[in-house]
């Protein structure tokens, strides 16, 4: 957390960025179109980059400017580009057989946010940080993780599953920017690099799925049971 008390403007900015990022997760929940997910993910990553820069400015962590630039570059540009290529190559543009309709998943998502808020409030109070920016950061972090898991469960296209994992990662990254801004630079860099490698691996595997299993949907992956 921050050593000095934050100016009110900084607190409001953090809250605004966290809330809009969370709303973008709901955009993903509420849509069937893969391009909409992709767009929402890219904008979310840009917002997180702005958040890093804001933390760098108000918290006095100049190294976070570098992280902000790298986040914008990798999470905001490279990852969406890689995913766009995967989507094009797989030739799918929407979810056909999701397990839960977008409107129903919005409701479930809302419940998950409420649960996340209760947990976040409890944990922050335990740490003596009730009523600070930590509560909202923790809520956003936990709800994005939960929404990522929800997406993973209800969506079946391989691209949606990759994006669901990335939403979980984005949520953790967003929370850690506010809660632990002093996290050593090396760790953050390696995690960014790791994400890149992971998405590349997912891309290759998705191609294998199309070529060798003839499907882009996990609905068809039912050979291995028991």
């Amino acid at each position: 957390m921050f050593a000095a008390p934050l100016p009110p403007l900084a607190g409001s900015l953090f809250n605004l960025l966290a809330i809009v990022s969370l709303l973008l997760a709901f955009v993903m929940l509420g849509s069937r179109w893969l391009n909409a997910y992709l767009g929402a993910f890219a904008v979310q990553s840009w917002l997180i980059a702005v958040l890093s820069a804001t933390v760098a400015h108000y918290g006095g962590y100049p190294e976070l400017y570098g992280i902000a630039a790298l986040t914008a570059l990798f999470r905001g540009l490279v990852l969406p580009y890689l995913l766009l290529r995967i989507t094009r190559r797989l030739n799918v543009d929407r979810e056909l057989h999701e397990r839960l309709s977008p409107s129903a998943s919005l409701v479930v998502g809302g419940l998950l946010v409420m649960f996340a808020f209760v947990v976040a409030n409890h944990l922050s109070t335990a740490l003596g940080l009730g009523g600070t920016v930590a509560v909202l950061a923790l809520t956003a972090m936990l709800s994005m993780t939960l929404i990522g898991f929800l997406l993973l469960v209800v969506r079946r296209e391989v691209v949606s599953q990759i994006l669901a994992l990335l939403v979980i990662e984005n949520g953790i990254f967003l929370g850690s920017q506010i809660l632990v801004p002093g996290m050593p630079l090396l760790i953050e860099l390696v995690i960014l690099f790791d994400l890149l490698v992971a998405v590349a691996c997912f891309g290759v595997l998705a191609r294998y799925l199309v070529v060798h299993a003839g499907t882009t949907s996990s609905r068809e992956l039912t050979r291995l049971v028991g």
Binding site: Y61, L152, Q161, V180, I191, D194, C201, L205, G226
Partner: protein, 491 residues
């Protein structure tokens, strides 16, 4: 002697093999490089064992730790890497696909590298990344055969494990946040730092963080109910890969859980965290018992047996105390060797009968006399019957449990072990002494040299588990005691 050069050998040998395989691209050279790397790693690991007793040593600006626990896990990983490399020579030659072999060996060496990195990592964030990389590399080994089933298994593996492991990252962020209240905003979160700050951590937060990392790394260890990727991945990869996954990878992830249990002991939380660990261990045993008795696929049978043994190990570490730790660590080495033996046997059976279905495998002893006998002996050993190593370690874990507050788990474990013993060996009875007529042998017979490569590693795995079943070396007891003291429970 300082451990620096040994650690360098352990990490650089697989790296060199990985690069060599990619540059030369000749199957025989790739085979040779991989075996040489595995021998070097195993020799270095054996040497590191006594050296690490003087530790813990911190190297490379605090990023590498060499302690007794890590060295012991490296021993079991190094042994499995050596056995799998030897077995792969015969097994992969018989697949008649030499043009892709160099890639297989490059991936295998890379997989070994990431596995060997894990126990050496001192920084918790970097440890998480090492575990994540094991998934990314091994998913391509699981999907290597490029059949419909293997690609499905690879996809499920990478998605489930990536999702699970992200919870561990969340838990690590929680630990960092909690500790930053006492250590300032920027510090390196090493195991030692976390251990020293643990008494001041907020209990609620520390409990949440512990549960998250336990679920996260528990997914990778294959504990129920997060085990669902494991039977798919272990059954669809080539046999040497299955052995590496089961005997080496799971241990590397277990190290993290053990170290986190030890950190959590220092946060006064009472008995709750250990009860959760014991409960999950018992649940893993129960799930494994159910799926073992009804299993129809021989490699999935072995995979569920891995879930069982990870559950037993988790029980051992969860019971704790010098006895529990000693039993679990002895179990780790024995299970690694024994499970390698079992997967090699399954690979040989797959070769001989062209099927993984238990109902299609008959009269194993007449089809492959030596390998069949070893496989049967291994099956008796893996169910925890005397005179083999796993019997001694399970007995030790049971004794450790009776002394602790979670004695109920001892009775659960005992009943489930009996169920598994009967269920597991019943499948072997059907395969060895079943009534049905032997299937006509089809396909090409393996050549003499391939047969030697396929049976030799089985002997190399079998002899140590027999010796360790008859004789528990006192040097091991001393070693486990040091580990238990370092873990803060043996004092």
């Amino acid at each position: 002697m300082t451990p620096g050069p040994l650690v360098a050998v352990i990490l650089l040998a697989p790296l060199a093999a990985l690069m060599g395989c990619q540059i030369v691209r000749a199957p025989r050279v790739a085979e040779g490089l991989n075996v040489i790397a595995a021998v070097l790693v195993f020799a270095a690991v054996l040497w590191l064992l006594p050296v690490a007793l003087g530790g813990p040593y911190i190297l490379l600006h605090g990023y590498i730790i060499v302690d007794a626990l890590g060295a012991w896990v490296l021993l079991s990983c190094g042994a499995v890497y050596l056995l799998a490399s030897l077995y792969a020579v015969g097994y992969m030659r018989a697949r008649d696909e030499p043009q892709r072999l160099h890639r297989f060996y490059a991936l295998l060496a890379g997989f070994a590298l990431t596995i060997l990195l894990g126990p050496l990592m001192n920084n918790i964030g970097v440890y998480w990344i090492a575990i994540e990389f094991t998934t990314l590399v091994s998913t391509f080994l699981v999907g290597f055969e490029k059949t419909r089933e293997s690609v499905e298994a690879a996809w499920k593996y990478i998605v489930i494990v990536s999702a699970g492991i992200s919870l561990a990252l969340l838990g690590i962020v929680f630990y960092y946040w909690n500790a930053s209240a006492h250590l300032g905003p920027t510090f390196n979160l090493t195991w030692e730092t976390l251990r020293s700050v643990a008494p001041q951590l907020n209990p609620t937060m520390a409990l949440a963080a512990f549960l998250l990392v336990f679920i996260g790394f528990g997914t990778k260890v294959g504990l129920a109910p997060m085990h669902t990727w494991l039977p798919d991945a272990h059954s669809e990869g080539p046999a040497p890969v299955s052995a590496m996954l089961s005997g080496a990878l799971l241990n590397t992830a277990m190290v993290g859980i053990v170290r986190f249990i030890h950190v959590t002991d220092a946060v006064r939380l009472g008995a709750l965290p250990r009860t959760v660990v014991v409960g999950i261990g018992a649940l893993s045993l129960a799930i494994a018992a159910l799926f073992i008795t009804r299993q129809t696929d021989v490699k999935r049978l072995m995979a569920y047996s891995s879930v069982e043994h990870m559950g037993v190990m988790t029980l051992g570490f969860g019971f704790g105390g010098p006895l529990g730790v000693a039993g679990a660590l002895y179990h780790m080495l024995n299970h690694s060797l024994n499970k390698s033996l079992m997967f090699f046997g399954a690979g040989n059976a797959l070769r001989a009968f062209h099927s993984k279905r238990i109902s299609r495998i008959h009269h194993v002893l007449s089809a492959m006399p030596v390998a069949g006998a070893l496989w049967l002996a291994g099956a008796v050993a893996i169910t925890g019957a005397p005179p083999f190593g796993l019997f001694l370690s399970e007995l030790t874990i049971l004794r450790a449990g009776l002394a602790g507050p979670n004695a109920w788990a001892v009775y659960v474990m005992l009943i489930l072990l009996v169920v598994i013993f009967v269920g597991f060996l019943n499948h072997f009875r059907a395969m060895y002494f079943g009534e049905s007529a032997p299937a006509a042998a089809t396909g090409r017979q393996p050549s003499r040299s391939e047969r030697i490569w396929c049976v030799l590693p089985m002997w190399l795995a079998f002899v140590p588990i027999l010796i360790m079943g008859l004789w528990w070396p006192s040097a091991f007891s001393h070693y486990f005691n040091v580990i238990a003291i370092q873990l803060g429970r043996g004092l």
